[in-house]
Symmetry: C2
Subunit: 335 residues, 2 copies
């Protein structure tokens, strides 16, 4: 058990974190599968497909670590971790319908196998099922935290939709979208962990801020990765986001660097949906030349630093060092 583990090591690797918390993670898995047992075969099939699709359970792990950090010993947090994963999975199911994506983590998406209807509905089911289980804890702060996070996630996706093919959105608007669509749930996972750990309001806030900055850093890294060459093992081709009209930080940076005429031409190409693979290759080369990918990487790293500052007030512990390791891992992983 994590709580019994010696805290004498000064630094950890991600492998060590997986190792130390493997019992917790296995418990989260078994909670996920126990909760899945819905009596309706279609729900189980669709949900199991995506839940077994190789997700790293980062959000449940963060929830557990924040609970341990703030003093929690028993295992209710692991149930909560499985609920966070349900909500995350619900958003993935809806995302795959929205994006009409064929693959997720190298596998066919549920949307391709079962269609839009099943994906939308099983998403709705997992979401409302999780909210029902959360409410059974009869903890107002927890309900409020989850409800706000879910509202923000939906709002973030809508803001992103409204910004589709609008390459001139300011960086601040992009960051707001990222905060809502990705930061909110990571922040909620950390705060719910803190609530279960019996943390003070100040500690809850600190861990909420930690999760928020971490989630933003993660999304920035993910958006940047989309432009990196040679990542076809992710089941993606570079620039896929922009082909779908999604404007992210490397492009926003690049547009600021380009001469007016080049910028205007590129903006028009994107706005009219005329972008093709040829444009994209040129665009990626420009991003390398103008340091746009470097810039996005730096911003991601800035958010990790901002996240970690929130851990300063906590005493050293295995959980605290594990959180630091997970933070680094989230922006360095190749998925």
């Amino acid at each position: 058990m994590a709580t019994g583990h010696s805290a004498t090591q000064r630094s950890l690797t991600m492998d060590a974190v997986w190792d130390i918390y493997h019992e917790d993670l296995e418990d989260i898995e078994s909670h996920i599968h126990r909760h899945l047992n819905a009596g309706t075969p279609l729900i189980n099939e669709v949900a199991a497909h995506i839940l077994n699709g190789g997700g790293k359970r980062i959000r449940p792990l963060l929830l557990t670590l924040c609970a341990r950090l703030t003093g929690y010993v028993p295992k209710d947090d692991l149930v909560l971790g499985s609920l966070i994963e349900f909500i995350h999975t619900a958003t993935l199911l809806h995302d795959d319908v929205l994006d009409e994506a064929a693959l997720r983590r190298g596998q066919l998406t549920a949307q391709r196998i079962w269609g839009n209807r099943a994906s939308i509905l099983v998403g709705d089911y997992l979401y409302s099922r999780a909210m029902q289980e959360f409410s059974s804890f009869e903890n107002h702060d927890m309900n409020e935290t989850m409800a706000v996070a879910c509202r923000k996630m939906a709002e973030g996706e809508i803001l992103q939709l409204a910004a589709n093919r609008q390459p001139l959105i300011p960086e601040s608007e992009y960051l707001r979208i990222v905060e809502y669509k990705t930061g909110a749930l990571v922040a909620a996972a950390c705060k719910v962990g803190a609530i279960r750990g019996g943390a003070s309001p100040a500690q809850q806030d600190a861990l909420h801020q930690f999760g928020m900055a971490l989630g933003i850093a993660f999304q920035l890294a993910d958006d940047r990765l989309d432009y990196m060459a040679g990542n076809t093992h992710l089941g993606k081709t570079p620039g896929q986001d922009l082909l779908q009209g999604m404007v992210t930080l490397p492009l926003i940076h690049l547009l600021q660097q380009l001469p007016v005429e080049d910028r205007q031409r590129l903006v028009t190409t994107i706005e009219t949906g005329a972008l093709d693979a040829h444009h994209l290759a040129r665009l990626t080369a420009l991003m390398h030349r103008h340091g746009s990918l470097q810039y996005a990487g730096n911003r991601s790293r800035d958010y990790i630093h901002a996240a970690l500052v929130n851990l300063d007030a906590f005493e050293d512990s295995t959980a605290k060092r594990a959180l630091t390791v997970v933070a680094e891992y989230m922006i360095n992983r190749d998925r």
Copy 2:
């Protein structure tokens, strides 16, 4: 105000109910529009389109009446009514994506105007926004009631999807789908009203049962109406549900009446998706001949009677008589 209204009249009409409670209903409207003010134009546009699409606000009205019935005076229930309508609207937005319907209440659907993405996401938004507002009341029973209802609605839709083009599903399975997809939210509206009214657990249960039976009766009437000729002013052509593979009570009844060979032929036509307008006309004629529409109408009425039994324990009041009128209205309306 409704609460100050004399209860001397012995019977009411639906027009009288609209009239007596018009201030409450106007308050519900203003709460709906105040809550809609989301700061994100796309949310407001999509949600306003469907919220202003001519819905009767039956669920908010039921919530208010159940609150009044059980002793509530101030106006918080009207906020709650607007939240129930948000959740109902969220399900309509998702339904229109699922059904790929062009029209709802004679208007173009949001799906046709703004596309799948906006409809799915604004549905997600309205749902999570409503759950956030519900949680702000810090009332566990209310959160639990709403969360269970939402989970059941999603499950009901999935059960229905799993039963698509399966004309041999038993009546009991059909009724379970109806209970989940439609009964659950009407039941929740009534129970939340009772909770706000300070009702005893027994009263809460009675009004939950009342709403459940009412919701089932309503859906049975709606499913039957889909087969009735000459209802083109609804923006629908008869038999539309079955063309989409939805098996409802008139068909289930008819199949039980047909000789084996006729039944098998019809089952195969439906299962293979070969059903066309010609089959449908013949099918509808058979339903009239075999009393299937009569049967479905009787079953709907049975549920209304079962619903009203739950009001017996309450003393006579304007709210009680209004509930009886609304119950009748729900199965007799032409939408």
